[in-house]
């Protein structure tokens, strides 16, 4: 099924007709095996409600403070007063609603689902209702030093508890940029956010994309990032899946041009009865591409971690070099991890590797630290941080790195 390339509201709402056909995911759907199916069914979607309700003060400390270009989306609508849409040289930053109204052809790709069709019911809902959000357009040959910050705030209301947001990022030929997406929320009500990011990387462009997911632990969070990479482009994804009762971050990366490189890493850190789900699929569709997936999970209390990562090497993608790893630390006897590192290879001349490990804190290392006079709790924290740090160290922006360390330490003190 192909959504009409004209992203007018009628065409987008046409996606709703597909919902009955696609149906809600069940335990039998590989990509949704460990999702809370009942909670997903209780999400109610619709067009954005009550724009401009502002951001509660309690969120001030939960959002990293970054100067520069910023888009703040509250309950699926851009809040202009909190945003800073002033462009920089070579950067055009807009609200999705504005682009849809004024130059819809520029965002058609975000709403058009191509030959493969709509992946699931939440994509269809996002196509239908995700009419606002952020559009980042970087012209050719531009190197942006300042990170672009996109903040999504979900404040569930009883009438309609779920929000949809759309984010588009287009990086021009030879350009480079950094985009931070922060997803937070407030309140103790059940609700959810469904955010879809479409990224297009032109030849030889570079994007560092950081995704911070920290919505309240009563909510459901669904993130989906679709990336298309042209020749020689570099995509660095850093995801931190920390909040939500069910927090899901899904990447679908198409290496469509020769010599493209995708480097995805992520950390998921679960407490309480959280389920943190990472779904990663990297498709090698062109020759000579490289990809790396490095995911680390720490699961405490009764939390569950999920890693379903795929490397999909298409015919003709000779010279592929792909590596995937998922290492997990189980800290409690009620925590669980489900990991599925997949390789699907239809070309020869490839070198693909994957690895997965599950373990616990090293007793001898704990003993060593304690024998040096370090308290048990502190020793434990040191070791856990040591495990998690690999993912954190890789984040280029100091402010964001500090925020993550604070966030991890905060929950761990």
């Amino acid at each position: 099924m192909t959504i009409h390339p004209d992203p007018s509201s009628e065409a987008r709402l046409g996606a709703l007709d597909r919902i009955g056909e696609i149906g809600y995911p069940t335990k039998r759907d590989e990509a949704w095996r460990h999702a809370p199916h009942r909670a997903l069914g209780e999400l109610t979607f619709g067009p954005p409600v009550a724009p401009g309700i502002g951001v509660p003060a309690e969120l001030d400390n939960q959002i990293p403070v970054l100067e520069g270009p910023r888009v703040v989306v509250v309950n699926g609508s851009v809040d202009a007063s909190l945003s800073n849409l002033a462009g920089l040289d070579g950067l055009r930053l807009s609200s999705l609603a504005e682009v849809l109204a004024e130059r819809p052809e520029q965002v058609a790709a975000h709403f058009e689902q191509g030959d493969s069709g709509i992946a699931d019911v939440f994509v269809a809902l996002n196509v239908a209702y995700g009419a606002d959000g952020a559009v980042v357009q970087v012209a050719d040959g531009v190197v942006l030093d300042v990170p672009i910050h996109i903040v999504d705030v979900g404040l569930p209301a009883a009438a309609q508890n779920a929000t949809c947001t759309g984010v588009l990022i287009d990086i021009g030929v030879g350009s480079s940029a950094t985009v931070i997406e922060t997803r937070v929320g407030a309140g103790s009500e059940f609700g959810g956010s469904n955010i879809r990011t479409t990224i297009a990387l032109a030849d030889d462009s570079t994007l560092e994309h950081v995704l911070l997911q920290d919505v309240p632990s009563v909510q459901v969070h669904l993130s989906r990032v679709d990336v298309t990479q042209r020749a020689g482009s570099v995509f660095k994804a850093r995801s931190f899946n920390l909040g939500a009762a069910y927090g899901r971050i899904a990447y679908n990366v198409q290496l469509a041009g020769t010599g493209a490189h995708a480097d995805l890493s992520g950390l998921f850190f679960g407490f309480g009865d959280q389920t943190l789900d990472q779904q990663v699929n990297v498709v090698h569709a062109a020759a000579g591409c490289t990809s790396r997936q490095t995911y680390r999970g720490v699961l405490d209390e009764e939390s569950t971690g999920v890693f379903n990562g795929g490397i999909d090497v298409r015919p003709g993608a000779d010279g592929t070099d792909a590596v995937q790893s998922n290492d997990n630390l189980l800290l409690s006897d009620r925590a669980a991890i489900n990991t599925q590192p997949r390789l699907e290879i239809l070309a020869d001349e490839v070198a693909c590797k994957h690895g997965a490990t599950v373990g616990q804190l090293d007793e001898t290392a704990l003993y060593y630290l304690r024998s040096r006079g370090i308290a048990a709790d502190e020793a434990r924290r040191l070791l856990i941080n040591g495990f998690a740090d690999q993912a954190v160290d890789d984040v280029g922006i100091e402010t964001v790195r500090a925020w993550i360390i604070h966030r991890l330490g905060h929950d761990h003190a």
């Binding site: 189980l330 997949r342 290879i345 239809l346 001349e349 997965a356 616990q360």
Partner: protein, 480 residues
């Protein structure tokens, strides 16, 4: 085209060496499956009432089930009503010695390179030869009887040891386990039964040769091996099948029970007819193999899968007792249009249980090879350990290699490691070997055999030789 590429093509196009068919006068049931057929099979075999009821229960379950479609397999629809579910060689008098065996059958075994009349002297292996669905001859019974080991056809076991069969049949693979297991439970024809009493080390390797010989006859073997406390047995299963034009369904069930401190080693060399270069006529091999290991017991599966158009097979171990050990060693080769979706399941329930998985997949021609495995650590399985290694080798441009492991851990004391790699035989590797004076053929052979070595090392001696031979036949031309 490079020398190596051409040789790969040559070898993947090698024809099936064992493609011959022996004319045996068989008694075949009309095609189709209903309750009457189930009753007919049971009656033909003169089975007790409880077994008929068990079959009927399975048949009822099967009717309500749907054929699974999750495997990475492209399967032509199977018409279960077009298959005949019963075939037996004509009634012949009970045989006392090898000399009484039908010369035609003996000739067939000779073609397969299994000189049955020499087995006794040369290899010290008891052979339970199955031609179609009824056991024709069983050897070495006396030697085994001396040790107290029961090794007979399943039909005989039902007549002679009904209590043992009744206690264990379906205890590891329940009738409702899956579609093909339910089908097998309803219509299973024959198979092997093996019982090792307490503290007995089976004095010889037990071996069964399966052979499909009658056109349009699905084979539904049932194997049950029970190893009592402190016993030990090594079991070999191997099969080659004559060339056929129509797909033949093979849905076997193998159940292993290893009681406290017992050890079962189960080795398979599978070489069913893979179909021609267009994939026509090969065997559909849907097998359910599972073992239950009690405290301190060990179950080891080793398989070399070179045949079949479609292989759907996941030999599994339920590590129920504390300190139980499960092992899985596999070489799966798919060339031509062969498709293999195979792997293992290790279910850790007991404390301090360990499992290791070594899987080697080789894809050539248009073959598709999938490793699919599950390592599951239940809450109760403290200190569980697993090590998994899945390697794939791609020989050619049109084949595929897939690795789909599932790891589900619910106990923090578990240590799980999974590693996988996919690679090709590089021109540089071949060139390096040629530099050292090796022929291209020897080089390729060395690389492929080296790739499989870890698994071949696990096979009993005589099987290791056969496994290498099968690999050579399947990759004829430059390897071997």
């Amino acid at each position: 085209m490079s020398e190596a590429t051409r040789e790969i093509e040559e070898l993947t196009e090698a024809s099936y060496e064992f493609g011959f068919s022996t004319d045996l006068d068989t008694d075949v049931a009309p095609p189709g499956l209903d309750e009457e057929i189930v009753r007919l099979i049971s009656a033909k075999k003169d089975e007790p009432e409880w077994l008929l009821e068990w079959r009927l229960k399975a048949f009822e379950a099967w009717q309500a089930m749907e054929e699974p479609d999750w495997a990475k397999l492209d399967i032509m629809p199977i018409d279960y009503q077009a298959i005949s579910y019963w075939a037996a060689p004509k009634q012949k008098p009970v045989l006392d010695s090898m000399d009484d065996v039908d010369p035609e059958i003996r000739d067939m075994f000779d073609k397969l390179g299994i000189p049955l009349h020499e087995q006794k002297m040369l290899s010290n292996v008891a052979v339970d030869a199955i031609v179609d669905s009824v056991s024709v001859t069983t050897t070495f019974k006396a030697t085994l009887a001396e040790a107290g080991v029961i090794f007979c056809s399943f039909s005989e076991a039902v007549q002679d040891y009904p209590e043992l069969v009744r206690e264990h049949l379906g205890s590891v693979v329940p009738v409702r386990d899956n579609y093909f297991a339910a089908l097998n439970s309803a219509v299973f024809s024959d198979g092997s039964f093996c019982y090792i009493p307490k503290g007995v080390r089976c004095p010889m390797e037990l071996s069964t040769y399966f052979r499909i010989n009658s056109q349009n006859t699905g084979q539904f073997e049932r194997t049950l091996i029970v190893a009592e406390d402190d016993s030990h047995v090594s079991y070999l299963e191997g099969c080659t099948a004559p060339q056929r034009d129509e797909n033949q369904l093979h849905a076997a069930v193998v159940e292993l029970v290893a009681k406290d401190r017992a050890e079962i080693k189960y080795s398979t060399v599978q070489n069913w007819y893979p179909g021609d270069e267009n994939g026509v006529g090969g065997i559909y091999n849907f097998v359910t193999k599972r073992g239950r290991a009690h405290a301190d017991a060990k179950i080891s599966w080793t398989q070399v899968e070179t045949g079949s158009a479609i292989t759907w097979k996941y030999p599994s171990v339920i590590l129920q007792g504390d300190r139980a050990v499960g092992e899985f060693y596999s070489v799966a080769l798919s060339s031509k249009r062969q498709q293999a979706d195979t792997g293992t399941k290790m279910i850790h329930i007991g404390k301090d249980t360990t499992s290791s998985i070594i899987s080697k997949g080789i894809s050539a021609g248009n073959g598709q090879n999938t490793y699919r495995g599950l390592v599951k650590v239940m809450r109760s399985a403290e200190n569980a350990r697993n090590y998994t290694q899945c390697d794939s080798l791609l020989l050619g441009k049109d084949c595929g290699a897939h690795t789909i492991p599932y790891i589900e851990v619910k106990n923090p004391g578990a240590q799980i490691e999974h590693e996988a790699s996919t690679s090709t035989v590089g021109e540089d590797q071949l060139y390096y070997c040629r530099q050292r004076g090796m022929t291209e053929e020897d080089a390729m052979s060395m690389i492929v055999n080296g790739f499989c070595r870890e698994v071949f090392n696990e096979l009993p001696m005589e099987f290791a030789v056969e496994a290498q031979r099968l690999l050579s036949v399947s990759l004829e031309g430059s390897v071997g």
